[in-house]
Symmetry: C2
Subunit: 310 residues, 2 copies
């Protein structure tokens, strides 16, 4: 049983109540906390030593990543983060300076996005550092951008460049909070998420939630320099396009908008964020699954993101 199957089984019968607007299965939970024009966004995420970061990673980067992952999920809803709690599972003989550095990285990122850190807990996890962040945010009523709104004919956009995140970006990315809120204010965004499992896998989450399909243009996928370098340095590494499609932890925004808005959106983006790349990589179709089109024609993209060479 893989992670997705386990989650599917566990989330079948979770208790609910009338506060729940969106429960398990989107980037954040969305809650109606009573009278007021705001909905709450609620998210947790954990990074574990040896799993999400290597032992010996500078602690500031670990703290940055731990909070940054949650912030990226609030961005994916076009929300504003408010307050975080931090749970630290500390190994035996941890160094106080390391923990202070971890908080330093977290605090700096929190301050840039006006997020308060309002407490948390330290406990013991003897063999390795375990950092879990819980984050609260908000979004105006009716303004949360879910995964389920994509429609046939939508243009599919992605921010930044994809692949090779493990070369460094996964510890240093800036969550796209400003960009996501701007997008949702300026244009009716139909569906959005942040890329954590890789474009091919995450796009499938939008398609399944929206009950649509997609066609990607191979030549349009924005491949990062890191993915190209990795392929060049090691002939047995993934080819760059495959890395861009399947590497995880890009923490870029993937979203869809009605096709007729694609050009105005690109123009407005370039005026507002001249330094940040935004690319139209394909379109939403009415036919289930993902196809990828290159000079040889269109081919299906398999379940796990790997290109099926016929």
């Amino acid at each position: 049983m893989n992670e997705f199957e386990l989650i599917e089984r566990l989330t079948r019968s979770l208790p609910g109540n009338k506060s729940v607007v969106v429960g398990a299965g989107d980037d954040c939970a969305v809650l109606d906390a009573g009278p007021g024009e705001r909905l709450l966004l609620f998210k947790t995420d954990a990074v574990v030593e040896g799993v999400h970061f290597a032992s010996g990673t500078p602690p500031e980067k670990v703290g940055h990543k731990a909070l940054g992952r949650c912030l990226s999920d609030i961005a994916a809803m076009a929300g504003t983060p408010t307050a975080a709690l931090v749970t630290l599972g500390l190994p035996r003989n941890f160094e106080v300076g390391y923990v202070e550095g971890l908080y330093g990285g977290m605090n700096a990122l929190a301050r840039r996005h006006e997020v308060a850190i309002v407490g948390g807990e330290t406990t013991t996890n003897p063999e390795r550092m375990f950092v879990s962040v819980a984050l609260l945010g908000w979004v105006a009523q009716g303004k949360a951008v879910l995964r389920s709104g994509a429609m046939a004919g939508d243009a599919i956009f992605v921010t930044g460049e994809l692949g090779g995140s493990l070369e460094g970006k996964h510890l240093e990315f800036e969550p796209r909070l400003v960009e996501a809120r701007w997008l949702a204010e300026q244009f009716p965004i139909h569906a959005m998420l942040d890329l954590s499992d890789g474009l091919a896998g995450d796009l499938r989450h939008i398609l399944q939630a929206s009950r649509v399909g997609a066609e990607l243009l191979s030549a349009s996928i924005p491949i990062s320099a890191a993915a190209r370098r990795a392929a060049k340095a090691n002939p047995s590494a993934k080819p760059p396009l495959l890395a861009a499609l399947t590497d995880g932890e890009d923490f870029e925004l993937l979203f869809t908008v009605a096709g007729r808005r694609a050009v105005p959106l690109l123009d407005a983006w370039r005026a507002r964020f001249p330094a940040a790349r935004l690319t139209c990589i394909g379109k939403i179709t009415g036919k289930e699954g993902i196809t990828i089109r290159d000079r040889q024609g269109a081919r299906p993209l398999t379940e796990h993101g790997y290109i099926h060479f016929a």
Copy 2:
């Protein structure tokens, strides 16, 4: 450096913002999420295999404890819990049935208190199970009961019986949510917390936050049958009174109320909760520190809860 010193150091310079009503240092963080008559309560807590529960503990009890600890903190603010997120760090070769049992225990407790479970995350923690729960709740503006409101002349009350929780109660306690809300609705409660570190240590948290002292009546401390049994079975175990003062994980409410309200409160409690014990164990004084009074007179209770026998 112990846990409290580490937390003191880490919480000196946490980022804040205008949503923060109460940050790190009370049972929950209290947040003002914008217009509306409610404040948010925000709490995380973790249980770790081999630290907070033994390997082989029935999974339903682990799930119950993981959520119950957070619920107990919401109770300590006289709040109402709303929604929880669950982070599971799963060891290698975990059994799906165990994880389902853990959720089963959590779901049952959540349903009894109308708490929604709105998602979470599964990740890897190779050597042991790590369960972190993030919980949101609410309290009416001005109605959160903090640790900082105790005043000289207050009566000190505790619910239930203390000590020996590790014999079983720590896996089965019912968080005192109903009782805490009733108390805060019926009487002006000055300060409250839930007992997790032991009466002597936790009372000190109230005293430090409120800048007062306390005198306890030795004969009034409600000692649990489990603490008595443990002392009887093992002559080298803590004497029962010491266990009641210093054992952790009682998850009972400790609160203070103006002395003149002590008798009406006890009468009203007995009418409303005839099956639940409530005991007045002493009073708040203007003099720093804790003294404990028995037939031989009053003696200071030392820092770590141990009675100093002169």
